[in-house]
């Protein structure tokens, strides 16, 4: 650390700078972008789950007044490489079969919603009118909607040139698992299923693309990863890098992971803008969105735990089968999520012997797309709920089983290679137990039972990644994992910060300003944040995976610290004092000489000298005041912990249950803005409850989606969720300059096991188990009946 900075801004619950413009409706989302001469794209999609396309008749659509162009698959394919190019295929070992995919289907469709024809028209209304005139003749093929069916040797193949339907197959293993299972006093073995659910952001996907031969392609698109998309477009369309400019809008209405992949529509609209030399706009409608993105989870776990009679887990075996859907999205391909879910399966527990066999299977559904708690949601449910079942079986208090297994020493590398950097998981867990008043709840439970009321308590944990560094990212995704930021002091002494990430509601304009304000001794009002434009911002991975507060913000801190010596040298020169570049404080927008605080100068005057009046600078000093920094943590990974607990009351006649209390103990290192952290926790828990209880991307046997409106895809509203109590239990990480870590990624993860264990505890029926998500009153009622009937 250089000289002292007063921590005036970090750690305060400052109201979000973004909110005033959003609250008055002045936010600028993708749908708000217009370019003169713009046409509108509508995509005609498959109505069949699996079929050959025999014929496409576009003549009537082409003749419809107001239609600019109607484009089919082969034409688009001829103009580019198959989309899954090297820069967007992860390397995770194992066996991968890569599907061939172009923006539009050519001769075969793989799921209901597969894009087939692009209609470009003068208005979005005309485009939809014309879409109804496209006639497509199909030959139906057998539809696979069950991954375990699709894995069978005699199953029909979804991709003709593959040897089977296995998208990716791999193993994560370490230790002597067989020995652990031989030595175990008890082995728990269950099949758990986490259904297809995930995110449904309020703003759907969308893009506005334009092209001319001089400047090339400019695409405004609400992506989380503008720089990665730029690389992908350049490579897929063989366009020079300087002719591809990706710009994410200032405001994006939520993503939760869904806007991280490289999508077919992004390449499609780029091609169309080039071909037509006209700007084109596409905004996905709600139905397309619910048919295409946000579908995650969808894993089966055949989980086995080898346990000692004291409740110590000595071995874990799992056969994970993921329903990857068609697996044709860039970067994630429908298997990266389950893979990471497997890697994080052992969660916050010290389990030395682990073997996880992962099978990611293609089916006639849309590809899995990331949703926060990336790949982990079903595994968290399986693992943590299994620990409660272990406790019940061994007649131990689940509290003791958890305490026995929680990771206690840091850094800790798990059997699957995940590095837990620092923290106090045990302390966080005990804080939850205290907050729940666990022993008293047990007494109340006994009292209530006498009056016929069934009350139960449950809990679960989530050790969540907080960004991944280059050590992981480079081998995995051929991309850096560093955080990057440029800090630039302008002519007026105001500070412009550039980040290559692209927030979607996280509040970077607020939190990044708090961080920089402290570093340079100014106020938040002196700072403005620029992001989204790949021609302006430093290369970066994107806003995802809890990267912001751990990586990107650390880079901004480092950039400020790079600038500080130069600012001090200029100050010393202008003040006529001696300085070693480290003897000034930064406060109140001034640079103050420590030896004599009456010697001070405004940052604005320094900026004036450095930029407008360079003759005032020390002889030989380069003009300007800007720095770019790249931050890598000196450790392979960082995680933070969240411990969830619930008290519920269950009606055994109907299976309905009420959440009486929901408590979260949360660690994010040093919270930059505690209010925003709490907001993330609240939102994450609500998402977890929606996913665990109400939301389901459902399909019939023909692969027809049954949840294409929000009338069927039941997202919770305020009336459906309890009050959420949040307790901060923050342990600063030594691996970032501020001790901060990200918050947002994993919060939904512990929700299903928390609820399931509380419900199971309340019912107190031997043999009662919740093995499938979602947890609905009807599913509980069924499980009660199954437990009552001896098998």
């Amino acid at each position: 650390m250089t000289s002292v900075t007063e921590s005036k801004w970090v750690g305060r619950s400052i109201r979000r700078r973004e909110d005033p413009r959003l609250l008055v409706g002045a936010g600028k989302y993708i749908a708000d972008y217009s370019i003169p001469g713009m046409a509108y794209l509508h995509v005609v999609r498959s109505t069949h789950g699996h079929a050959r396309i025999l014929n496409i008749d576009i003549s009537k659509a082409e003749d419809y007044p107001g239609v600019v162009a109607v484009i089919t698959g082969q034409e688009v394919a001829d103009a580019m490489k198959p989309m899954l190019v090297s820069s967007i295929i992860p390397n995770l070992g194992g066996e991968l079969q890569i599907p061939t995919v172009y923006p539009l289907a050519i001769d075969k469709v793989q799921w209901v919603g597969d894009p087939i024809v692009a209609i470009i028209a003068e208005s979005k209304y005309i485009a939809e009118d014309a879409a109804q005139l496209v006639e497509i003749e199909y030959e139906k093929l057998p539809v696979l909607t069950d991954p375990e069916e699709a894995m069978k040797p005699d199953a029909p193949k979804i991709y003709d040139n593959w040897k089977d339907n296995m998208l990716w197959k791999g193993q994560l293993a370490s230790g002597d698992v067989d020995k652990a299972f031989k030595e175990a006093d008890y082995v728990l073995s269950e099949r758990f299923y986490g259904h297809r659910t995930g995110a449904a952001p309020m703003e759907t996907r969308g893009a506005v693309a334009s092209y001319d031969e001089f400047t090339g392609l400019t695409i405004h698109v609400n992506t989380q990863r503008p720089h990665i998309l730029r690389m992908a477009i350049s490579q897929i369309m063989s366009m020079p890098y300087d002719k591809v400019r990706v710009i994410a809008p200032k405001d994006v209405g939520g993503a939760f992971g869904t806007k991280a992949p490289i999508y077919r529509e992004e390449l499609l609209i780029s091609y169309i803008a080039m071909k037509l030399r006209r700007p084109v706009k596409w905004v996905e409608n709600r139905m397309e969105s619910l048919m295409t993105i946000g579908q995650e989870r969808d894993q089966i776990h055949y989980l086995e735990l080898a346990v000692t009679k004291e409740g110590k887990i000595i071995g874990l075996r799992d056969r994970l089968i993921a329903d990857s859907g068609d697996g044709r999205i860039g970067v994630y391909l429908g298997f990266v999520m389950p893979w990471l879910g497997a890697a994080y399966l052992s969660n916050a527990y010290d389990i030395p012997n682990v073997q996880i066999d992962v099978s990611c299977v293609v089916t006639n559904k849309p590809s899995l797309t990331p949703s926060r708690a990336f790949g982990e949601f079903p595994g968290r449910f399986a693992m943590d709920y299994a620990m409660h079942l272990v406790a019940r079986e061994l007649k131990l208090d689940p509290r003791d089983v958890f305490e026995k297994n929680i990771i206690k020493q840091f850094p800790h590398v798990t059997a699957t290679g995940i590095t837990h950097d620092s923290g106090d998981y045990e302390g966080a867990f005990r804080t939850l137990i205290e907050a729940l008043d666990y022993d008293r709840v047990r007494q109340e439970q006994a009292e209530a039972r006498k009056n016929g009321r069934l009350i139960g308590v449950g809990f679960a944990m989530g050790a969540e990644m907080s960004g991944l560094g280059s050590q992981i990212f480079v081998p995995m995704e051929n991309q850096p994992g560093y955080g990057a930021a440029t800090v630039k002091i302008d002519t007026h002494g105001m500070i412009q910060v550039f980040e290559g990430d692209s927030p979607q509601g996280q509040g970077h304009e607020t939190t990044l300003s708090q961080v920089v304000a402290d570093e340079l001794g100014v106020t938040m009002d002196d700072i403005y944040i620029s992001y989204g434009d790949t021609f302006v911002t430093p290369f970066a991975s994107g806003t995802l995976g809890n990267r912001g507060a751990s990586y990107t913000f650390s880079a901004a801190v480092l950039a400020c610290r790079k600038l500080r010596p130069k600012i001090q040298q200029i100050a010393a020169h202008l003040l006529g004092v001696e300085s070693d570049g480290n003897d000034f404080t930064f406060a109140n927008k001034e640079i103050v000489w420590k030896k004599d605080p009456s010697k001070k100068i405004a940052l604005r005057d320094i900026a004036d000298a450095a930029i407008l009046g360079p003759t005032k600078l020390p002889r030989g000093m380069e003009a300007g005041l800007e720095a770019t920094a790249y931050f890598e943590a000196d450790i392979a990974g960082m995680l933070s912990i969240g411990v969830h607990g619930a008290v519920v009351e269950v009606n055994p006649d109907t299976g309905d249950f009420k959440i009486l209390r929901y408590v979260v103990v949360d660690d994010c290192g040093v919270p930059i803005n505690p209010m925003i952290v709490r907001g993330q926790v609240h939102g994450g828990v609500v998402m977890g409850m929606g996913n665990a209880r109400f939301e389901k991307y459902a399909f019939d046997e023909a692969g027809q989606p049954l949840s294409t409106t929000l009338m069927e895809y039941h997202m919770p509203s305020a009336a459906d969720v309890p009050d959420i109590e949040v307790i901060e239990y923050n342990v600063p990480t030594p691996y970032t300059p501020l001790g901060s870590k990200g918050k947002g990624e994993g919060i939904p993860g512990p929700v299903p096991a928390t609820l399931a264990s509380a419900i199971t505890d309340a019912l107190n029926i031997p043999g009662f188990k919740i093995l499938n998500l979602p947890i609905t009153p009807e599913s509980i009622w069924r499980s009660i009946n199954e437990a009552k009937v001896p098998t």
């Binding site: 209304y125 109907t654 409106t709 509203s717 009807e778 009622w781 069924r782």
Partner: protein, 296 residues
């Protein structure tokens, strides 16, 4: 999700003008009030309507309040009565609480501010909220066309899934609800997956009591196909009986048995019967409690 071309929009200010337009434009025209069912149908292109007749300005559809009609006290609800009014108006809440029971959980605040009772009844979604209390309260619906007007009892109004007796050239004008007899209480409850959703199952009941004895009742179940079903056996069972929890439990068992339920995305038939039993009991209890409060 953008509607097809609407070639014409008109907003008559009188009922006469409206039925004239209905006659003139035939099946191409549809009425719009709050638009909470119709606009989604337009957006999903599930209707081929090209002419929209906005009825919001028609004064005859806006009646609201109690009045005496041929010496009988009734509550008259114009077809444009908003869900919000039913959910919150003191007259409804105090004297016809089954209507506010039902209206306050329709959709969300925005839906309730725009949605109308006429729209909901004519749309006739079997899982909608308002048909059940309208049936329970033995309402009469007035329907007008150029040929004249007719009144239909609620029991004859619903023909099937999204089908009613209202013809293409007709408009539902108002709903008359008889004021409750002394000693009458009514209640409604809906089971649904999330707040404001359509019913998995809904139960509405009105019970008229003398002291502890049930004189008569009307019980209907929604969320079943093709439209709400009347629980005649349950009503017969309760008639003349002194009401105890045990009797109500038996009534709920009969209710769960007699109503034909089906399996769909929201729940299985089996589970619907469980819910009927549970909530049949609760709704009857609540109706009886209200009836007794009324007696006091």
């Amino acid at each position: 999700m953008y509607p097809a071309t609407i070639t014409d929009y008109m907003a008559p200010t009188t009922l006469d003008e409206c039925i004239q337009l209905l006659e003139q434009h035939g099946s191409q025209a549809k009425l719009i009030a709050g638009g909470q069912s119709f606009v989604p149908l337009l957006k999903l292109r599930m209707t081929d309507t090209s002419i929209v007749i906005d009825i919001n300005r028609i004064i005859e559809l806006q009646e609201f309040g109690e009045k005496n009609i041929s010496q009988k006290r009734i509550l008259r609800l114009g077809a444009l009565t908003k869900h919000k009014t039913l959910a919150t108006h003191p007259l409804v809440v105090s004297k016809y609480p089954i209507l506010s029971d039902a209206a306050k959980f329709i959709g969300d605040v925005q839906v309730r501010n725009r949605g109308t009772i006429g729209g909901s009844l004519v749309h006739a979604d079997p899982a909608a909220d308002l048909p059940v209390p309208i049936l329970v309260l033995d309402s009469t619906l007035r329907i007008v066309s150029r040929e004249g007007e007719r009144t239909v009892s609620a029991d004859d109004f619903f023909l099937g899934i999204m089908m009613t007796v209202v013809e293409q050239n007709e408009i539902l004008v108002n709903i008359d609800i008889p004021a409750p007899l002394p000693g009458t209480g009514a209640a409604y409850y809906k089971c649904c997956a999330v707040y404001g959703d359509f019913a998995i199952i809904s139960v509405g009941a009105s019970v008229t009591m003398t002291d502890d004895s049930c004189d008569s009742s009307r019980i209907y179940v929604g969320g079943v196909y093709p439209s709400p079903q009347r629980a005649v056996q349950t009503e017969a069972f309760l008639q003349g009986k002194a009401i105890t929890d045990d009797i109500l439990q038996q009534a709920a068992d009969i209710l769960a048995d007699e109503i034909p339920v089906e399996t769909d995305m929201r729940a299985t038939a089996e589970y619907r019967r469980i819910l009927l039993k549970e909530h049949g009991f609760k709704v009857l209890s609540k109706a009886i409690k209200r009836a007794k409060e009324d007696n006091i």
